[in-house]
């Protein structure tokens, strides 16, 4: 009875408006997380194709994903369209940042004019969305993505899942539009305990270990649709957007396990990457849906080199497309050796029981796939591609992104950029300039102590050195010139600098010296039996004392 008030034309129009509104909403959100400034032109002559009188570009992949998620449905009560924005570091840790929700509630506005008021209000709501997408914390993060992390999006339809946002997430309402069939609401729930993860921290070196807390490594809803990078570069025209590859070779599959964390490296193999990937040294985990990857921060050395996409833009930085699982059509089809040199055979793994259609496999959008690999003990990067043949008929462009992780996260600069001056070491400026490589960095790799004597012992024998450029101080810091702050030479006969130099290497306390220390320890050990005997004699007194305490 409710809907009879709405003419069929109005109903058709309204459904169309809502559908295109949903698609445009997704475009605005994803484009706002591409990491680039968006610019579209105003046009005084209506082109007829600009929905809601706003110039919002349509990135075809995004539209495709949105349509797929909607699957012909419209947002309705209990069926919301959600765009999830998350961050993934070069080490493979990911964290949900925002969920944008387009929902419908039951509150109807019967009086409102569909073709006019609803349309204009939807336009206004899109403008609000443009504004709000720039003011949540993820915007600034997305502007700085590329090297240490990327921003990904995922669209799903159904119930809103906010649990991945951590505690205390905040919500901002973008707006609402009443319609005769319900009220459309658009809002964003965003994580706030990344507030300390300001973009400054991502730029700074040395990196900060463990700054990602409360991130979901094990996704609670493994049967989720794959995530996509926000910062891929679509073609300028709406034409050739899908990356194409000359030879559609093996499609790498992802194999991630939710259970025990393993040291996984995600590699995305470029199909025409000539050098054969190194041999895997460890078994792969059972494949699981799409995005359930689990791994831990570890200190192995893996190298990360962003590779360029075959077609399209040059500096993709970090194109990361998470596509899940195995080929829907051929769940057990894996490529054995011979297709790509050096790839070891992988036993067929059963796909976990999720609907095949939820894994976005082998569509033209599948530019990139993952395989798990484990790092070897050597310092070279080693990756393995566990290839699976994708019988999807569409060309794939697969990217190889090998991750380098030095000791400490987020250090992805080329090695020669890391200089001592960048590190937060006191008097770093005075360190010898040839210490450029992190490998030689004493803060990273402390120098070995001399074989014969301990440094402690060494300093015992110093003869009141003046502290300048002698060998008995720590070898990696050479004091070229010592200019203590707030200290002048001409005020006192002895200034701070002189004092420091004179007393820089005082003799060790005798109690700390090893010989004497060892001696006293030996004495202590010898005297133990005696002491024990005495205590045993007095055990009754001790017990009485303990009684008084209770």
């Amino acid at each position: 009875a409710m809907d009879t008030d709405l003419s069929s034309q109005d109903r058709k129009d309204l459904d169309k408006f809502i559908k295109f509104f949903a698609l445009k909403t997704v475009q605005v959100i994803v484009q706002a997380r591409l990491g680039e400034k968006i610019c579209t032109r105003s046009s005084s002559s209506p082109t007829g194709s600009d929905w809601f009188n706003l110039a919002i570009k349509d990135i075809p992949e995004v539209t495709h994903e949105a349509k797929k998620a909607l699957a012909g449905q419209l947002p309705a009560v209990g069926r919301s369209m959600c765009v999830e924005i998350s961050l993934k570091t070069s080490e493979g840790d990911s964290m949900e940042l925002e969920i944008w929700c387009l929902e419908m509630n039951e509150k109807c506005d019967k009086e409102i004019k569909v073709s006019y008021t609803v349309y204009n209000r939807l336009s206004l709501l899109l403008k609000s969305l443009l504004a709000i997408t720039r003011v949540t914390p993820a915007y600034r993060l997305s502007r700085k993505q590329g090297h240490e992390y990327v921003i990904l999006y995922r669209i799903y339809f159904g119930e809103v899942q906010l649990s991945g946002l951590g505690e205390g997430f905040q919500t901002v309402r973008v707006g609402t539009v009443g319609t005769p069939v319900g009220t459309i609401t658009l809002s964003c729930a965003y994580r706030i305990n990344l507030a300390f993860m300001s973009t400054r921290q991502f730029e700074r070196t040395p990196p900060i270990m463990g700054i990602i807390i409360d991130h979901f490594v094990d996704r609670p809803f493994p049967s989720s649709s794959p995530m996509h990078p926000c910062n891929y570069r679509a073609g300028e025209d709406s034409g050739a957007v899908y990356p194409s590859v000359e030879d559609s070779q093996e499609v790498c599959t992802t194999s991630f396990s939710t259970s025990p964390p393993s040291q996984c490296v995600f590699t995305v193999t470029k199909a025409h990457f000539q050098t054969p990937p190194p041999v895997v040294t460890d078994t792969l985990k059972v494949p699981v849906m799409g995005l359930a990857f689990s791994h831990q921060l570890s200190s192995s050395r893996l190298s990360y080199q962003p590779a360029a996409l075959g077609v399209g833009s040059a500096d993709m930085g970090y194109p990361v497309l998470f596509t899940g699982g195995l080929n829907a059509a051929h769940p057990h089809q894996l490529i054995g050796p011979g297709k790509e040199g050096g790839v070891p055979p992988v036993p067929n793994q059963p796909a976990h029981g999720t609907q095949a259609d939820q894994e976005r496999m082998c569509t033209p959008l599948d530019g990139v796939h993952y395989s798990a690999a484990t790092p070897s003990s050597s310092e070279d990067t080693e990756t393995v591609s566990n290839s699976s043949e994708g019988k999807c008929g569409s060309p794939h462009d697969l990217l190889e992104t090998i991750f380098v992780r030095k000791v400490g996260a987020f250090v992805n600069k080329p090695i020669n950029q890391v200089t001592m001056a960048n590190l937060d070491i006191p008097f770093a400026m005075f360190a010898p300039k040839n210490v450029e490589l992190e490998d030689n960095d004493p803060m990273v790799n402390p120098p070995e102590s001399p074989d014969t004597e301990s440094p402690l012992q060494g300093s015992l024998h110093s003869e009141g050195s003046s502290g300048s450029s002698t060998g008995n101080t720590h070898d990696d810091f050479v004091m070229i010139d010592f200019k203590p702050a707030f200290s002048k030479d001409d005020i006192l006969p002895m200034d701070l600098g002189t004092f420091y130099r004179e007393f820089q290497n005082p003799p060790q306390l005798s109690s700390l010296s090893i010989d004497i220390g060892a001696q006293s320890m030996a004495e202590d050990l010898d005297s133990l039996p005696e002491k024990l005997a005495v205590h045993e004699k007095n055990v009754k007194e001790f017990d009485a004392f303990v009684e008084t305490l209770q």
Binding site: I38, R41, S42, S44, L130, A131, V174, G175
Partner: protein, 232 residues
């Protein structure tokens, strides 16, 4: 007040006028960017594409483009309508405001107002009425900072504050309260500013006031200068 729009008309009643006030504390060099961010965000919501009237009273609407703007002195970015004419007009107004605000004779406190109005034609000898239907006032307090560290903190803090202001503005816009009726062709100039070639904002006016050190507001710096001169 000091109208900076060329469309000047007699002051009018303010019935049905929605008034919003925003306050910011910024450094001198941040004034312009902060004001532009707020004004552009408001005008983004209060501008449509150009109307093209057809026969039988129907019209089609042009397309509004948008673009991201990064601030240089504030950790902040905002979206504005893609219209160079509109941007120029706002920048001119904001620059005058900033010069007055940060000039000598000012204690760094003032406010800039963005009014949306409709024109109601009156018969001769009465001049047209301007009916205010939405008024935005941004109160500004200019702070002076001592060192670079404070400036860096200010960059971030003002950025965060502006994020809040954008959210506030969007909240107001979402209330879907009074908006002028879509006009017929003959009435369009009473509702919209049709002078721009690519977009069509509602008729608006920007004015400002600077508060002098005594706390009272002076409407122009000129008046104060004249006063000072006469006092000599």
């Amino acid at each position: 007040s000091c109208p900076l729009s060329s469309r000047c008309c007699a002051p009018s009643g303010t019935m049905n006028c929605r008034a919003e006030v925003l306050e910011v504390s910024v450094e001198g060099r941040q004034v312009e960017e902060a004001m532009l961010a707020v004004l552009h965000t408001i005008l983004l919501h209060r501008s449509t594409g150009k109307f093209h009237y057809k026969k039988e009273g129907t019209y089609s609407i042009g397309t509004v483009g948008t673009q991201d703007v990064d601030c240089d002195f504030i950790d902040f970015a905002y979206v504005r309508v893609s219209s160079e004419e509109l941007d120029r007009a706002l920048r001119k107004a904001v620059r005058e405001f900033k010069d007055a605000l940060c000039g000598s004779g000012s204690d760094g406190m003032g406010q800039i107002s963005l009014e949306f109005y409709q024109k109601k034609k009156s018969r001769w000898p009465f001049s047209d009425e301007c009916i205010l239907w939405e008024l935005w006032t941004i109160k500004v307090n200019v702070v002076n900072l001592a060192n670079e560290q404070e400036r860096q903190i200010c960059r971030e803090k003002v950025g965060e504050k502006l994020c809040e202001k954008i959210i506030n503005i969007v909240e107001v816009m979402n209330r879907h309260e009074y908006l002028p009726k879509m006009p017929t062709q003959s009435e369009v100039d009473n509702v919209f500013d049709t002078s721009l070639k690519d977009v069509q904002p509602y008729l608006y006016k920007i004015s400002y006031q600077i508060t002098d050190s005594l706390g009272s507001s002076v409407t122009t710096t000129m008046r104060r200068l004249i006063k000072d001169t006469l006092a000599l």
